[in-house]
């Protein structure tokens, strides 16, 4: 059982982890404590491994900081479902092995605090007895996630996805 943390449009990387809380300014080990520290202060305290983030348009816009998705990964976020993602965040999250799903219908069906069951590998989420089939990810994304992370992929295959 996991819960849904729902967000609106244009959640930027400064909202996910403000620059002042970066591992460069503080200590790397503390990173998960700073996820949404100012924007949604209860998040780092209450988030549990396996929880799911649901967001509307353009999640992760702003900077190239990989520690934004890294903080979410270290909090144990199992997947992010959004209407759309900002492009650098999308790459970073996939590289780190966080399953992302672009699926507006699922976003509409999921609410903050919902208790859900997620099967990220199968692309399926169950809420209130109803199972939603998430929109399949592009092939190369599936390939990276199947390996784990982009580092795992390159180590396993000795080449880039699609090369």
């Amino acid at each position: 059982m996991a819960r849904v943390w729902k967000f609106g449009d244009d959640i930027d990387t400064d909202q996910i982890v403000p620059g002042r809380y970066s591992p460069y300014m503080t200590s790397d080990a503390d990173l998960p404590k700073y996820a949404f520290i100012e924007f949604r202060p209860e998040f780092p305290k209450e988030v549990r491994p396996g929880d799911v983030i649901v967001a509307e348009d353009n999640f992760g816009c702003g900077s190239s900081r990989e520690y934004a998705p890294l903080a979410l990964k270290r909090c144990g976020i199992a997947a992010i479902v959004a209407n759309s993602f900002a492009r650098i965040f999308f790459r970073n999250a996939i590289n780190l092995g966080i399953p992302l799903f672009e699926d507006p219908a699922a976003v509409q069906a999921l609410n903050d605090g919902d208790v859900v069951e997620l099967d990220a590998a199968a692309g399926r989420i169950t809420v209130g007895g109803r199972t939603i089939e998430l929109r399949p990810q592009p092939r190369f994304v599936q390939d990276i996630l199947a390996a784990g992370t982009i580092a795992d992929y390159i180590r396993d295959h000795g080449r880039f996805p699609g090369e």
Binding site: D10, Q15, G19, Y24, G62, I88, R91, N92, F140, R155
Partner: protein, 414 residues
């Protein structure tokens, strides 16, 4: 049916070694990959511990900058910078630009590290700036940069391209910053997500103004921002003869901006696309004015501010912080007297670099304060307290605002 190529498609195609179409995944050679003090320690760690590759593929194609918190503000940042210096020495990387040389993107262009016709990567989102000199510049995270350092390659999804045509001349008091803020206001901060933006009609703007345009395409979510130079003028700009967009290239979308019709623009908190004409926000109280960053810390920006502030005084309650984007710009502004007129007006100067742009040092904001900045982002909490407000505009508008201590129209002072 075959059709011509956009600039992004031409550059990616050459770097991939085969023709590409939007939507293709291409593995490409990287002309230069750079990282900065705040991210490079992660890049180094990922390269060694995740990819387990001890050496960069080609030290000539790696550049490192100490600009985001320069000089260091605490032990943690000092340790990170020491790590960057050790890495450069151990790997034989000679493109290390240390404290005081300036903002990464400015140096990438000025020192010839970003080259026309190449794919250039930065661990910083405003790497789109390199489109101003004909490179496909794009920002990526630490893992992608580590991979580029280690292999000299990256993968890209070939973007669709959007065309933006500039017509007319900028009126007095209006700068290229106003044009790009206007475009962001029109399209929204996801208005070009995953796309390349190609500007037409920008070749007669100044070089500095073109960098501002390309740099801020990041605020549209764009993957790259490029200036389309006319084919017959490529030699004049020192660009390779193949670096033009084909007349029959395919665009997903087109916009036109009539420069002549623009007024000074201001982006109000909390999103960059919250843009209005300056008239709508005139009179808002401002505590700090920041002139600098990779977006607007160039010589023409310092000159623009000096034009308004020379012989005048900044409002008594305003802290005006000037950070030239590079050491050369600092020296030139000292030599030509523009900096002294700003100092005499009551401004102060900090080390070339990013300064307070990301709220880490040199001008962090307190709760309840408002800053008028020439930077590129006004997200809540970016420059310090989440209770502080950030307004964005051109160097001219920043100077007029410093003078009055509230947002002001620069056209009243020209």
């Amino acid at each position: 049916m075959s059709r011509g190529s956009t600039l992004a498609e031409k550059i990616i195609g050459r770097a991939a070694g085969h023709a590409v179409q939007p939507g293709d995944l291409a593995v490409v050679a990287v002309g230069m990959a750079m990282s900065v003090d705040s991210i490079a320690p992660s890049v180094i760690k990922v390269m060694r511990e995740e990819f387990r590759i001890p050496k960069v593929a080609d030290p000539e194609k790696v550049a490192l900058f100490v600009d985001h918190v320069a000089p260091a503000c605490n032990v943690s940042t000092a340790e990170g910078q020491a790590e960057v210096r050790r890495f450069a020495a151990e790997q034989g990387i000679r493109h290390l630009y240390d404290v005081g040389t300036g903002v990464c993107h400015q140096l990438m262009i000025d020192r010839g590290l970003a080259r026309a016709g190449e794919v250039v990567l930065g661990s910083d989102s405003h790497s789109t700036a390199y489109g101003a000199i004909g490179a496909f510049g794009t920002g990526m995270g630490a893992t992608d940069i580590a991979l580029a350092f280690a292999t000299g390659k990256t993968w890209l999804r070939v973007p669709e391209t959007m065309k933006v045509e500039l017509t007319g001349q900028l009126p007095a008091g209006v700068m290229s910053k106003d044009a790009i803020l206007h475009l962001i206001g029109r399209l929204g901060i996801d208005g070009a997500t995953y796309r390349a933006v190609e500007f037409y009609g920008a070749e007669d703007l100044t070089a500095a103004s073109r960098i501002t345009l390309c740099s801020m395409t990041t605020e549209l979510g764009a993957k790259a921002g490029m200036i389309a130079f006319p084919q017959e003028r490529l030699a004049e700009f020192g660009l390779p003869e193949w670096l033009f967009a084909d007349p029959d290239a395919g665009y997903v979308h087109a916009e036109t901006i009539d420069l002549a019709a623009l007024s000074p623009q201001v982006s109000s908190p909390d999103d960059v696309d919250n843009v209005s004409s300056v008239d709508a926000v005139v009179g808002i109280h401002i505590d700090q004015v920041f002139l600098g960053t990779c977006t607007n810390g160039r010589l023409e920006d310092i000159h623009a501010a000096a034009r308004i502030l020379k012989g005048r005084r900044v409002a008594p309650h305003v802290r005006m912080i000037i950070i030239p984007a590079s050491d050369d710009i600092l020296k030139q502004s000292v030599a030509d007297g523009s900096l002294i007129s700003l100092l005499e007006a009551g401004a102060t100067v900090s080390t070339p670099g990013c300064g307070p742009c990301i709220g880490r040092h040199q001008g962090v904001l307190a709760a309840g304060e408002a800053c008028f900045s020439t930077a590129n982002r006004n997200f809540r909490g970016r420059m310090g307290s989440p209770e502080a407000d950030i307004y964005l505009g051109s160097p001219l508008t920043a100077a007029a605002t410093a003078l009055e201590g509230k947002i002001a129209d620069p056209r009243n002072y020209l």
